[in-house]
Symmetry: D2
Subunit: 365 residues, 4 copies
Amino acid sequence: MIGKVFKVSVFGESHGTCVGTLIEGCPPGLRVDENLLRTELRRRKPGSSLTSPRREEDEPVVMAGVFRGRSTGAPILIIIYNRDRDSSFYEAIKDTPRPGHADYVARVKYWGMNDYRGGGIFSGRLTAALVAAGAVAKELLRKHGIRVYSYVVRIGDVEASVEPRDSPEFREAIDASPVKCPDIKASKRMEDLVRRVAEEGDSVGGVVETVAFNVPVGLGAPPADTLDGDIAKAVFVVPGVKGVEFGAGFRIAGMRGSEANDPLVLRGGAVVTETNNSGGVNGGISNGAPVVFRVAFRPTPTVRKPQRTVNLATREPAVIKGWGRHDPCIAIRAAPAVEAVTAVVLADHLLRWYSWEGMRSKILG
Amino acid sequence: MIGKVFKVSVFGESHGTCVGTLIEGCPPGLRVDENLLRTELRRRKPGSSLTSPRREEDEPVVMAGVFRGRSTGAPILIIIYNRDRDSSFYEAIKDTPRPGHADYVARVKYWGMNDYRGGGIFSGRLTAALVAAGAVAKELLRKHGIRVYSYVVRIGDVEASVEPRDSPEFREAIDASPVKCPDIKASKRMEDLVRRVAEEGDSVGGVVETVAFNVPVGLGAPPADTLDGDIAKAVFVVPGVKGVEFGAGFRIAGMRGSEANDPLVLRGGAVVTETNNSGGVNGGISNGAPVVFRVAFRPTPTVRKPQRTVNLATREPAVIKGWGRHDPCIAIRAAPAVEAVTAVVLADHLLRWYSWEGMRSKILG
Amino acid sequence: MIGKVFKVSVFGESHGTCVGTLIEGCPPGLRVDENLLRTELRRRKPGSSLTSPRREEDEPVVMAGVFRGRSTGAPILIIIYNRDRDSSFYEAIKDTPRPGHADYVARVKYWGMNDYRGGGIFSGRLTAALVAAGAVAKELLRKHGIRVYSYVVRIGDVEASVEPRDSPEFREAIDASPVKCPDIKASKRMEDLVRRVAEEGDSVGGVVETVAFNVPVGLGAPPADTLDGDIAKAVFVVPGVKGVEFGAGFRIAGMRGSEANDPLVLRGGAVVTETNNSGGVNGGISNGAPVVFRVAFRPTPTVRKPQRTVNLATREPAVIKGWGRHDPCIAIRAAPAVEAVTAVVLADHLLRWYSWEGMRSKILG
Amino acid sequence: MIGKVFKVSVFGESHGTCVGTLIEGCPPGLRVDENLLRTELRRRKPGSSLTSPRREEDEPVVMAGVFRGRSTGAPILIIIYNRDRDSSFYEAIKDTPRPGHADYVARVKYWGMNDYRGGGIFSGRLTAALVAAGAVAKELLRKHGIRVYSYVVRIGDVEASVEPRDSPEFREAIDASPVKCPDIKASKRMEDLVRRVAEEGDSVGGVVETVAFNVPVGLGAPPADTLDGDIAKAVFVVPGVKGVEFGAGFRIAGMRGSEANDPLVLRGGAVVTETNNSGGVNGGISNGAPVVFRVAFRPTPTVRKPQRTVNLATREPAVIKGWGRHDPCIAIRAAPAVEAVTAVVLADHLLRWYSWEGMRSKILG
């Protein structure tokens, strides 16, 4: 479960009946309908040559917690059915765990009872459930003027130069790019790279950047539930994450304090930071600057090139080759999922923030 | 609170009575005494020219949950009293928040009621509480043969080359270095850098690496409570963290799948990964390889060089200069704190793992 | 959510698409299939003259977390679809909250956005979701030899005399009674009373007793998560509960200590309590005796007799009369739900208990 | 831990260094000082012939989270030191668990490592920690006009007739009674009974009633976190509880629906319930009427009369006699502890309520 007040659970398997999400603690009155969900889900939809050739029909169904198109305050259940899938490949390889995947750890942890078809709960398909939950969280944030954007800033050795802006144009630029990169030039080079890598029967890693605008000063609940820590934990729910960094991130290790500190200045009467090396968070609390962070994604583990593994039935070395239908770069489809989990964490901390703010005038008198 | 079964809370202020930790859910029978705690606390003790010249006497006192030197199963309370401190500097600057610090966000979030002296709960002094909690967690892990080591691998532009080993010698090499770096050559250069930076009235960032050996396959509770996600969240409790990456980390974004995947091979009859680009975690679950991750620390925000800020009382621009007693590089003293929170998360997931494992033979029959 | 390790959420509305449950933290390898669920659900099925004349087809569908009939360790989603229902009555009364129901509080708390049809999430129909979750919990408990029985011991002024036994015959005696009361004579009188009350257009309250056999010594996590406290909280999830008491319960207020204390004696070499005034729990921890408690249920709030209320649209006094399809005594159908939530709490505490027990030999050496 | 937003943990042992509480999530700006705490603690202070002759000096010390007499928003730590105590009696009986106490279950659950002196964490002394936490919660509630009163309504066969009122006089009447019973006549008879029972070397049970005034409509978070369920769970943290009932409680089992339902009527333009059989809660949500519930307390387990037990060292039957310093009726000193945990639960749900209410105008527009 992600969140303590706005609480999101996800469930489902790649080759099972469905994936989906249960949202508990969502306030009443928010628009939640299939159109809204479909719009968000389409942003992670595969289909182009750059993502998996599978034709997924992500048809979300709202099963509970919504009445006449609005959240009711009761738990919200959203389900996205799976289409019939061919699981024969997975039967063939069920004793030979795919390197880089969770096959081996799942088999050990779940005593061999796990649904191994398509990675089961470890499938990237679970991100559809995250995106659905994020769609609801974003409706809540929208009421507060908070908007979140996630986009690809790096694939392999191609790095983009992105200046995020809180505007419909920026959103469109992200959505228009087949690699979710709003820097058109870089996007083109990324496309080329992904296509080349796919032809080689290989895959490639990437970096997703996220920015949240209009986050009020004060979200986060230190010592333990820092805003950055909660975001960091949540992004690891997205498959393939290997790192997360805020603001200047790892680069800050090479900086001097006099350079890394963000000076506080007045702008239009408001106290703001002049720079944003902190990524919008100090001491685990939002400081009013955009919350900015980057997430590193590993290359898709499944590749057509042969990979060494072990046959767990015979306990002998084995070689496995990936099967065709996988994105060569998971970072692309992961971007909307990172955006979604960020929205969920912000929604949770926004509600937690109001639990104090609502009492403020009564306490201070 | 960190953890769901082995649960750690920290409390206290830099210039208040004490800092400390409450540990709930710790099993009975573990050695918990002041000597044990003192040994751990000494590892974060300042005193050399490289860390703060303050002479802190970290005298831990076990207040509850321990009987005749052993944990009883009841909540454990450990307190570390503060020495008398001069808070006059903080009175002088209380309206001019220090850039890079949590001064400004704390004032807003806590409606001006926060203890601003020495950073209050945002002080690095809270890491003493984390280290105390970690000492108890490490006793639990020790019973299972799990050992955790954190050490500095980078300060500014000086990078170390460290080959972690699960041995007393490795521990000694860490502890012997004034910068907590077991690479002697790099340690020397780091020392020089830190000294030079201090003389300039500035500070510098760094990177702490952590490795946990002998973690059994299967720790982690996906989808939401991944092992890497829980570690990532916990490290943000340590002040000054700006990023965390596992295994190949951000470098993996530039890799091909065929290269990033860790082949599964047999070693002495056991299934192991040949490489460790995954950092010991797949799909949020430990895979039996050492759990390896790195944490980026910002430079100490307090520097002697002048910094621009805003006087919140007069709403006018202001300039502030740091006061003398601060570590020029917080990464050094943070290393034991990272080690401690890692131990806490592993202890929690170890106990959670047993909640299923204990039923295994009964269920599988 | 009920539970901390074995975690159960319920969702759904009376006149919405479905009700159901999400179970997180369930170990792998347990039998979970529609037959098992159907068997349990049948125990709360209405149809006789004593319960609602509605013909509910409680067809459970396992949507996630189960593979080849066994739990996988992933979140389990179970859905029970609602049949088409006539909601016209509820449209007519939506501004006149039914006394004793949650109509009024729901309207206020949920800002008028709640699904008011059939009580929405406050409907007794949610107990089907609880029973489904309980079916899974009972499979876990069964592996440990723990069995739970809930039955009616009182309806109105008719009190039963029940000597609970851990046997298939006892289970059958409960299931055979149309009022879930294993005391045949009392059962007959209860039937008569319920029928008479129904004819009067009224309803009647009752008491459900629960006993859990073979609970090992040591379940419960004081100070806060006591076993009795967690059970007490969970039973309030069942609609209509107004009280819960363990062992001698409220009667103990009139007793002397010398009489209330359960002497410890040896039986077959084992330490047991001679009496069970404590209801199997001391200090929040199971003591090895059967866990015994009783739950008081209010009469069904909906009655055909006229009830005074307020029209919230006009802000004028109003009178409302219940509509036909309601059980005259909710305690009857609530019994399986109480059994279910008890099983869930015991399953949770059993797994929590193993989180320590699994480490026992490693710690004590 | 009690609570999810306003979170209270208690710790400590009867014969250890201290008892105390850690409060996390408390908003800033509340008065928290030793005087306030002392006033509350005095209400559970023994000393008269009716309670234990021990002279406890409950000197609370605020250790963290408070600055200049006000809460800061950081975790609040309050400690109450124990006086030196004679533990020799407990050494003598450590192998012969006292019937009715938690001695036996503690020894089993905690593998013999528990602090058995004076009952360790199971001691009634922990209620001092609860009362301290409750004092802070009551400050929060006070800002909202919510007030909580707990008082004794029954001891043995003596029942009081109490009409609770939200007034200083009612508070004084409770505090003035040596048995915490505001019905003066009943109080006198209770005193006599307790004295007589004490002379007999026995103890006696009782019932504590609690009423909370001015609770707004809408507190409670169903399905799982009902307001009544959370209160029910919290009262089991107080030692010796065997039952809890709201409003008409168990009596409702004998009622008809037409009689049990609380009619909704208009009073001064407000919708209120005419009667309060529901005890101020419908569907797990406060309905605006006073929240009223009763808690059954067992007689003090320690009695001077001989009790049968088992010597766990020799595995032979044994007889044990209580030692002198115990309250003959724990219900009396438990009343302030019930009041305290009720305040904590209400404070938690009040803050949770604001997490939605704060967004209300933004969502509804």
